[in-house]
């Protein structure tokens, strides 16, 4: 059992939990993730990235968006409640070395897993510029932490309600042409990562992306997480989650992500009724 010791609502639908998980806190490295299951026979297994960890305290920080029925239920837990099952750390850690100049792009909730990577890149001696973006001001998360960790932080919103009114790809292209980064890291919604990879490709900047596919076990047993990388099938949970963004078959990945759309739409509707959340708000 993993007790929740801190809970914070970062925006309308984004939550931060600090959870007791000493084994995971001890072993995890930047880029890795966990799978969570809220006990019982019927709950789903949900992959979530690890935003931070404190090995001394034995805790990890999870940041998640309440998008489906399961994450909505998770969001209803409070400090003192426990999460029955937490497996991790999963996936290969980010490959960290001194590349020189790195640009890191985080979209929406993707800013959370980006944070430990930014810190690790900094610690390895890189110069790191960070771009974070969201649909609107309310959805920008971890701005302060990022400002502290990065050499420079650029904030953009789709609607211009905060920072610059732009998509993350705009400042990314500018940096590629004016600053010539040696590495780009992009984490966020798949469509954002796809366009970041397209943007950097023009400039020949190697781009690492972290894929968030459908998963069940997270141990390489089911193959539900498979993607096509440079024409080869890879399992995101064991071979990834990070891959060369220029080699990902984005269209296939995006289609596969839509596999359960109709079922999920129904479940989403159901949970809004169950949890009494006003339709359209969360």
């Amino acid at each position: 059992m993993h007790r929740i010791i801190e809970k914070e609502q970062l925006s309308a639908e984004v939550f931060r939990f600090k959870v007791e998980a000493p084994n995971i806190a001890r072993e995890r490295k930047a880029g890795q993730f966990i799978i969570l299951q809220m006990g019982g026979d019927y709950n789903e297994r949900i992959p979530l990235t690890i935003a931070d960890a404190d090995p001394e305290e034995g805790t990890i920080t999870l940041i998640f968006q309440a998008v489906g029925e399961s994450t909505h239920r998770l969001a209803l837990l409070n400090v003192g409640d426990s999460i029955a099952n937490l497996l991790g750390p999963l996936g290969k850690p980010t490959h960290i070395e001194n590349f020189g100049r790195c640009v890191c792009v985080g979209g929406g909730i993707g800013v959370a897993p980006l944070y430990p990577i930014v810190k690790a890149l900094k610690a390895a001696g890189n110069q790191v510029k960070v771009i974070i973006g969201a649909r609107n001001k309310g959805l920008i998360i971890m701005e302060e932490e990022m400002r502290k960790a990065a050499d420079e932080l650029i904030v953009v919103t789709d609607d211009g309600s905060y920072g610059r009114k732009a998509l993350v790809t705009e400042p990314l292209k500018e940096l590629c042409s004016t600053w010539a980064p040696n590495l780009a890291v992009a984490i966020g919604p798949p469509i954002m990562m796809k366009f970041c990879a397209l943007a950097t490709k023009e400039f020949g900047v190697k781009t690492v992306v972290s894929l968030n596919t459908i998963m069940i076990d997270g141990t390489g047993m089911c193959g539900g997480c498979r993607v096509s990388i440079d024409g080869q099938t890879k399992f995101v949970c064991v071979d990834g989650p990070e891959f060369d963004g220029h080699q990902v078959d984005w269209n296939n990945m995006l289609t596969r992500l839509g596999t359960y759309k109709s079922q999920e739409a129904m479940a989403h509707h159901r949970c809004h009724i169950d949890l009494n959340i006003e339709e359209g708000k969360a």
């Binding site: 072993e27 026979d41 078959d249 596969r256 079922q263």
Partner: protein
């Protein structure tokens, strides 16, 4: 398999029961059919299909055994159960003694009685079957084994394991499938402190996530795990050895004196044909895990979604393929085809399961091999292209190998494809442990006498050594390794 109800079968068997039989009478006793759920009903539920012998059926079937002096059946049993001896105890109505006899060799009779491929093992060698020149006439050893285990469980009559005084040694087993269950039990009995690490949130391995409820009720597996806990084994779920902790750290930092790896063959194979990553193509592991482990067959309660399936193609002809096909029917598929490249004789699945699948309406497209999977505009499966095959010369496995007929490509309409062509070994432990040697196929290299790996202090058994094999072989290997580990730890 029988259309008669359990009650009728009990009456019929009872009518034939006598205190003693002449050899001739014995030889003419009818094989007792397994009482089963009606196929038309059972495809609408997940309950067990085979209902188990009634008391009189078991007695009668046990009396069919000739109690041969040379015991040919025992040779066919991978763990060497003294089959005639336990069956003799049934004829004496001493089920407890029958159970004790089985327990000398097998730890999991309720499971093996249900899932062993008996027709290739004990029952293949049975004299009664040979006498009739028909293996279907062999004594139903597996069904009797199950009867003994279930009867004792019902009466709560299982012998409690004796545990030696604590040795002060700490060991761990990786995984919680049959290999690890067997190893943990024998290590615990020797007085060692045993921890079991399982990656998933529930123990049992393939017995829980792979084999469906209708063939192996999960309560039976839970019972075996509860026995381990009662003996003092600490079962830690959500612990992925190699990621949560490496084997080296477990031994050097956490003080484990020896490790048993029973991590199974959990890496689904794909065919490498066009279209395998389309929406609507799943590995059997994914399909079965969603249904069994995550209970997605229960739409009302489960949060894990299931694909909406209607016309399902299952690639492969083993137990995994049968389980996937029959699960698909139960999830409401209108049409399910098993597509296998050889002929019926070569189907690797248990014969009984092939029979069950046919009764339930699964179609068998034999001598067909998929060449590609075809998508509609939205990237979803709309069908498969199959090539017709002929049987050629026998290959290394001794089975006649299929030869594709050029130009025989034909399109068949399906909306779902389940790939069930087998599993390779999961590479995670190999990837994260220096010193463990593997074969070309990725299975661990072990000393055949002890099952010790190439890394000192580490043993392995089950599918991680044998490749995708069977429950009984996994259990046997777990016990063999535990014996060697106990000797090593006593030094």
């Amino acid at each position: 398999m029988s259309e008669k109800s359990r009650e009728v079968l009990e009456e019929e068997a009872k009518a034939l029961l006598k205190d003693s039989y002449t050899a001739k009478e014995r030889a003419s006793l009818p094989v007792q059919p397994m009482p089963s759920q009606d196929p038309k009903q059972r495809i609408h539920n997940m309950d067990e299909v085979a209902l188990g012998y009634t008391d009189s059926q078991a007695l009668l079937e046990a009396n069919r055994c000739l109690n041969c002096k040379n015991k040919p059946c025992v040779e066919g049993c991978p763990v060497g159960i003294d089959i005639p001896a336990f069956i003799h105890h049934i004829t004496q109505r001493d089920i407890k003694a029958a159970g004790d006899e089985i327990a000398k060799a097998s730890l999991l009779p309720a499971i093996c009685g249900r899932v062993c491929p008996q027709e290739n093992q004990c029952q293949l060698y049975c004299t009664v079957g040979k006498m009739h020149k028909d293996i279907d006439q062999s004594v139903s050893i597996g069904r009797l084994e199950r009867y003994v285990a279930d009867t004792l469980a019902k009466e709560n009559e299982q012998s409690v394991a004796k545990i030696a005084p604590p040795t002060g040694k700490k060991v761990c087993v990786v995984g919680s499938g049959p290999a690890s269950i067997a190893a943990a039990a024998d290590l615990c009995k020797a007085g060692h402190k045993v921890t079991m690490f399982e990656a998933l949130h529930k123990g049992g391995g393939v017995l829980v996530y792979g084999i469906p409820e209708f063939r192996l009720p999960k309560a039976i597996v839970a019972r075996e795990l509860a026995k381990l806990t009662a003996m003092g084994v600490d079962i830690q779920t959500n612990f992925l050895v190699g990621r949560t902790r490496s084997i080296k750290e477990l031994m050097e930092k956490d003080g484990y004196d020896a490790v048993f790896v029973g991590s199974g063959a959990g890496l689904p194979k794909f065919m490498g044909i066009d279209g395998e990553n389309l929406v609507g193509v799943l590995s059997a592991n994914e399909f079965l895990t969603r249904s069994n482990l995550m209970k997605a067959y229960d739409h009302e309660h489960a949060l894990t979604p299931m694909p909406q399936i209607s016309k399902v193609a299952v690639f492969g002809g083993g137990n995994v393929a049968m389980d996937a096909a029959r699960t698909a029917l139960r999830l409401g598929a209108q049409k399910v085809s098993v597509i296998y490249r050889r002929s019926e004789n070569e189907l690797p699945a248990r014969k009984e399961e092939v029979g069950h699948a046919k009764e339930e309406g699964v179609e068998f497209l034999l001598l067909h091999n998929p060449s590609r999977i075809i998508a509609d505009e939205s990237g979803h499966v709309k069908g498969v292209e199959l090539l017709t095959c002929e049987l050629g010369e026998p290959d290394a496995s001794g089975r006649r190998s299929p030869v594709e007929i050029p130009g025989s490509e034909t399109f068949y309409e399906y909306d779902t494809v389940i790939v069930a062509i087998g599993n390779n070994s999961n590479p995670l432990i190999k990837m994260t442990t220096e010193g463990i040697e593997t074969t070309r196929k990725g299975t661990f290299v072990v000393n055949p006498d002890t099952n010790e790996t190439t890394l000192k202090g580490v043993w392995a058994g089950g599918d991680i050594v044998l490749g995708a094999a069977t429950v009984i072989l996994a259990m046997g290997q777990g016990r063999k390794a535990a014996k060697a580990m106990n000797e090593y730890l006593a030094k």
